[in-house]
Symmetry: C4
Subunit: 228 residues, 4 copies
């Protein structure tokens, strides 16, 4: 990872921006073209999202660790792989980048810049789904870092590809993504009032995954964290 915090934040910002431009932009494109078949629209949303994650984590991992996700940053802060101050800066860069990505998608598709989603995503089943999704994501990151570090980009992309379909919430699994998607009244949106429970479930599940990994992964040599 770089010494220079500014460039690390630049990487988190631009990476999260491209992630959200992809999530929201491909959602708009897919829904517009899918002729009402939501499974086809979700395929057109899933494949780009999984693909861009592989790209962004591969290319920005050496700069900032390629978190793009406050839940992941929190886990690394608890693991003391990143300082508390840097973690706060990371999270701000991620949230800002996410918003810029959403707005870039709106400009590209000639939609109103500033929107709020009206899509209802609430209830215990959805929150449990977000918990499973985020547990799985953090577990994937931590276990793959130990098993084969240079497979993390591919594993995260494939994990999210799967989780878009196997979780009832289509796997937000990322507080910055959740907040940003509150600002788009499109396929990928979420009502602003539904954001906080999603984010809470994500953060709690991320910490449970860390606790589980601290048990499961302890047999092995030193931790090769996402940080270097």
């Amino acid at each position: 990872m770089y010494d220079n915090l500014g460039k690390r934040l630049g990487a988190e910002f631009v990476g999260t921006a491209f992630l959200l431009a992809t999530v929201v932009g491909s959602g708009i494109m897919a829904e517009a073209l899918a002729d009402g078949n939501v499974a086809i629209a979700l395929l057109g949303n899933t494949i780009p999202t999984g693909a861009i994650l592989v790209v962004l984590i591969t290319m920005l991992g050496p700069i900032s660790g390629a978190h793009f996700n406050p839940a992941v940053t929190l886990v690394f802060a608890v693991k003391r792989d990143i300082s508390g101050g840097d973690a706060v800066a990371y999270i701000l860069a991620q949230v800002l980048g996410g918003l810029v990505g959403v707005w870039a998608a709106h400009i590209m598709f000639d939609l109103e810049l500033f929107q709020f989603s009206q899509k209802v995503r609430t209830g215990p089943a959805q929150w449990f789904a977000e918990g499973v999704a985020t547990f799985g994501l953090v577990f994937t990151i931590l276990a793959t870092l130990r098993a084969r570090e240079n497979a993390v980009a591919m594993s995260v992309g494939l994990y999210i590809t799967a989780a878009y379909w196997f979780t009832a919430s289509t796997s937000f699994a990322n507080p910055a993504v959740t907040i940003a998607r509150g600002f788009s009244d499109s396929f990928a949106g979420i009502r602003p009032q539904d954001v906080l429970p999603f984010v809470s479930a994500q953060l709690v599940a991320g910490l449970i995954a860390l606790w589980f990994c601290n048990w499961l992964l302890v047999n092995r040599q030193s931790d090769a964290s996402m940080q270097q």
Copy 2:
């Protein structure tokens, strides 16, 4: 592989749970959204299943060998790569993990927890298909372990991606998966009374694949088994 049997069983349990949550959860999602087009539903079931297999085998392989499949565990027990006692424990962990994964999918999608499938999957053509599917899976694992060990995760994911489509049974190829899918009355389900013939075909075909591999792969240097 770990020395610690508890953690190995933990890896088999949680890996099989995520595998089944993906198989059953993505089946529920895909069928709900596909507007009656079963090919689209099967795409939405196939892509997540193939993806999660790559992820799970990559990250849990170094811990337990990442079998997640009693037929695979049986083959490695016959090859004496795992002791009989450990094999029995593995199989129990896989079956339990599979059930927990199915139930997690039901909770996420707000369905009744405890169900039995009513989907008929029977007859000689289906059993032959399961035989071909499992022969191919075990052949893939054993031959890829010798050809390029770190390609096993990708190869198994891609093999199952293909086998969902080229076998008439959509390739269960796994007794733990088959049992667990008996407990879900959804896209991926199988009637409980159809489970035993499927499992039998899988176990027999796995052993035939081992016998075939013992002939085909013998020219080569020492066996780098899935176990280390």
Copy 3:
């Protein structure tokens, strides 16, 4: 590659059998489920075919070179990477394996074992398409062998994934595949009387690709052929 010709032929036989079972089986499954939408059926035929090619070439490459294709065997025979006698044996194993694969698909899907296709695939545009498809396949194999040998399996799988869509003939690009598909009156079939022109275009285009590669690739160090 193995010294033992019997095992090399075994690998060519079983590999081509699984390739054809996938091509024909996934075609049957996809057409049956796609509700008349041929693009969806072709997706359900393409993804399995590309996937199984990666699997089979990865796992059987070290045994036989993983040709599964008389046009490829012919090219390697002209390059003197395989003897004429071995080439003839390879081609017989591939054709037999292809037929067995088609028949296995028919059994799995409970269809009549012995069939002839009635699907018309003829005319100069189709033959030119087969030429382009096979030129590209042989070019991909020879250029990837020099550029990055362990990427050949992935490259061939991805090339065929593309060529199913960008060639008007859906890219048979393989005489053994073409002959075998003559024996299946299903999605992937071809009328027996249309087989010979396809095979001719494939063989000619393969040799043109070899001639082109002999010019383009000559700047580089010694040829690391598919054979070892």
Copy 4:
């Protein structure tokens, strides 16, 4: 990279020809089969395009650098990784190759050889989308070259897979591709009068990406450019 300019130009020519044959050919196939569902047609256009890019960059990268794209060649010329004279020759080879690829697709699909597109692709939102698409492509290339050079082929293929969906213009991101698509009145076409603004947006965005990368990527050791 080769010393011999003729072979480097041969690689750029044939690579861009296969790229355009894939873009245009798969567009024709997909639209013909998709029964009016444009999302399915775009899937059938996206998957082949992403796949062939991985193949072509892997196999031709060691020969010419595998640009296939005047915007990329311009960036490397500004970086002084390629001389001005060679860059001009590269661009000519790319444009010619693109045209030949389009015409090959027309022959394969039995269409009139020489066509002009009538598809309107204009307006500030489309131009901004091309800017985002090309910024992202050049950023992907330069950052992946530094992060993990042998991942460039996979990253470019996955980036374009995503960008077909997240940009409103379906991500031409390549002046040679844009010009060539002007000559096909099919799914992938663009009206000739809309070409120049697209190309302008692409070139400007490519240079902005270079400027951004000069800031972001500077912390690291020497630049391992696409050239060797």
